[in-house]
């Protein structure tokens, strides 16, 4: 099941979605067994911003039919804290590390990319473009020109693969993906969460401290599959597909829709070792038979 992704050799195609698994915290809960049975073929770390963030006020979660809405607000130690505390720990994981970064201006993103450009612990960078550019007021990943300007700005800063994490809250994610590709991105990943809201049962005010949040889980699987398919049909660069994957069969759907890798997120909340099970189930599927006989399997 080994797979090549942007020149990185991976043991299998299952990774995690950024912000859905904290390998450092999980090691505190499970001990070193976690490293022996590490569930992902590459580890994507939680979004790093230039400044530390404490995240949104609670409540941060609301369960919906087949999923949940989260409003976490990207808590992290900031760039300096990540480099000093998190990176040395994450470098000890038995798999390649992909660092996810987000800035509120292009220059902030450039500063983050430059900080990791030469770090040998880092295999690739993922750009979280689901936030507004405070200088233009546009969501960086919701507008193809905005995305192109960002990727053009950071592309010369590193030779490491750059993955653009697309938002599904865009008119045409495939157009954004095409703009990222044309500006030098090495891969795209999708979907991020879909915006959603819940009301407090009694007060009728928004339940979540951040008022709205992102919907994930089984409920978004069919939406994710459609977006992965649309993007994969539009670009030639590899696609990391995710959204509601709970089984090897779900992962096979994402791969057959055109993805090179599949990320597992919310299912890891339900079962810490879900990705191990999904890899096993995927491997046991006779997927070669499912393809049309004239189609060459992807690398």
């Amino acid at each position: 099941m080994s797979v090549r992704f942007c020149g990185i050799e991976l043991a299998h195609p299952i990774i995690n979605g950024s912000g859905t698994f904290d390998a450092i915290a999980a090691r505190r809960a499970f001990g070193d067994t976690l490293l022996d049975e590490f569930p992902f073929a590459a580890f994507v770390s939680k979004t790093v911003t230039v400044e530390p963030r404490q995240g949104n006020p609670p409540p941060r979660l609301w369960e919906v039919a087949g999923g949940l809405i989260n409003s976490i607000g990207l808590p992290n130690k900031g760039l300096d804290g990540y480099l000093a505390q998190d990176l040395p720990e994450l470098a000890r994981l038995p798999v390649p590390l992909i660092v996810n970064v987000m800035g509120f201006t292009r220059e902030e993103v450039a500063r983050l990319v430059a900080a990791f450009a030469e770090r040998e612990e880092v295999a690739a960078l993922e750009l979280n473009v689901s936030c507004p550019n405070v200088e233009t007021g546009l969501i960086m990943g919701a507008d193809p020109r905005e995305t192109a300007a960002l990727v053009t700005r950071v592309r010369p800063l590193t030779t490491k693969p750059i993955v653009v994490k697309l938002t599904p809250n865009a008119t045409d994610p495939a157009a954004v993906a095409a703009a990222a590709e044309a500006s030098g991105a090495d891969a795209v990943s999708l979907i991020n969460t879909l915006r959603g809201m819940a009301l407090h049962p009694r007060t009728r005010e928004p339940w979540l401290g951040g008022r709205t949040g992102g919907v994930s889980g089984a409920a978004v699987r069919s939406i994710a599959l459609a977006q992965v398919s649309a993007v994969a049909n539009r670009v030639a660069i590899p696609v990391v597909g995710m959204g509601g994957v709970q089984s090897g069969g779900d992962a096979a759907d994402v791969l057959d829709a055109g993805a090179t890798l599949v990320a597992v997120g919310t299912e890891s909340f339900r079962d810490p070792a879900a990705a191990c099970r999904i890899s096993r189930e995927l491997e046991s599927l006779d997927r070669g038979q499912a393809r049309p006989p004239d189609e060459t399997p992807k690398q």
Binding site: R28, L61, R270, D271
Partner: protein, 273 residues
């Protein structure tokens, strides 16, 4: 955090059989057999889901597992959990019968720390929050004074899971009419404050009353808190509670926190069911 307050969990979740289900008034105690798991520390918790009809694939709610402090662990590898059917998750778990199965992950979090020498433990519980006090009483023995508060007589039947408890009910149908914190004030008035250590678990208003009372009298208190959580092991960042040191993930740093870390125990977002 000292290692003896945290037993590490086996990685992943385990499918375990229910070996007994019994009712105590408004509450259900589920007993399951966890032969593959380690013994938990008092105050630690597990994430539970019914093995069938729980968000599988096309899932309706419940979808996420639910966090339960362990009520009791036996030398025969039984784990007991106390629950009250208040939402789709607890209703589904409460409907499980002997022979059916659970998904279980844990033990997670850090439990209670023993009282300093010369301090007498006072265990204060409210409603379904009495659960972690039972396993803590099992370890501390009968030197611990137990004060429990309930809404009414049907809920007060839950007191049977602990030994020798003084009771309060909101409607006065059992024990003292009023709040369990009334009983705590009486106990503290009869004890030198310098010789008491309080352990509490219950609804946020009760915990806040205990926290404020103990802060005022300089009595050390450990509070077992609740916060809605999706995973139990630090992945989702959903269960943060505000402390004097900023937000902390309750699943990693708690669920038992020193009361002095908190400005308030009124944690938003509990009781989603």
């Amino acid at each position: 955090m000292s290692a003896d307050r945290r037993t590490l969990a086996p990685f992943g979740r385990r499918r375990v059989p229910i070996v007994d289900r019994c009712e105590y008034g408004s509450y259900v105690v589920l007993r399951c057999l966890d032969e593959a798991g380690p013994a938990p520390r008092p105050g630690q918790f597990y994430m539970l889901a019914a093995a069938e009809a729980w968000g599988g694939g096309e899932g309706e709610r419940p979808f996420l597992p639910r966090a339960f402090s362990v009520l009791r662990a036996t030398p025969e590898s039984e784990l007991h959990f106390l629950l009250e059917a208040v939402g789709p998750g607890t209703k589904r778990l409460g409907a499980l019968a002997e022979g059916e199965e659970l998904w279980l992950a844990g033990p997670f979090g850090v439990g209670f720390a023993p009282p300093a020498e010369q301090r007498r433990p006072l265990l204060v519980g409210g409603g379904v929050g009495i659960a972690p006090l039972a396993i803590w009483q099992d370890e501390l023995g009968l030197d611990a004074t137990v004060l429990l508060g309930f809404r009414d007589a049907a809920h007060a039947e839950g007191a049977a899971v602990l030994a020798e408890a003084r009771l309060a009910t909101d409607d006065g149908s059992v024990g003292h009419r009023g709040l369990v914190t009334d009983l705590l004030i009486q106990e503290l008035d009869h004890t030198d404050d310098a010789r008491a250590a309080v352990y509490a678990c219950g609804p946020p208003p009760m915990l806040e009353a205990v926290r404020a009372l103990c802060a005022e009298r300089g009595v050390p208190a450990q509070l077992a808190l609740e916060s809605g959580m999706a995973c139990g092991y630090g992945a989702c960042f959903g269960c943060v509670v505000p402390t004097r040191a900023g937000y902390v993930r309750l699943c990693l740093e708690g669920p038992v926190l020193d009361a002095e870390l908190l400005e308030t125990a009124l944690i938003p977002g509990t009781g989603h069911g």
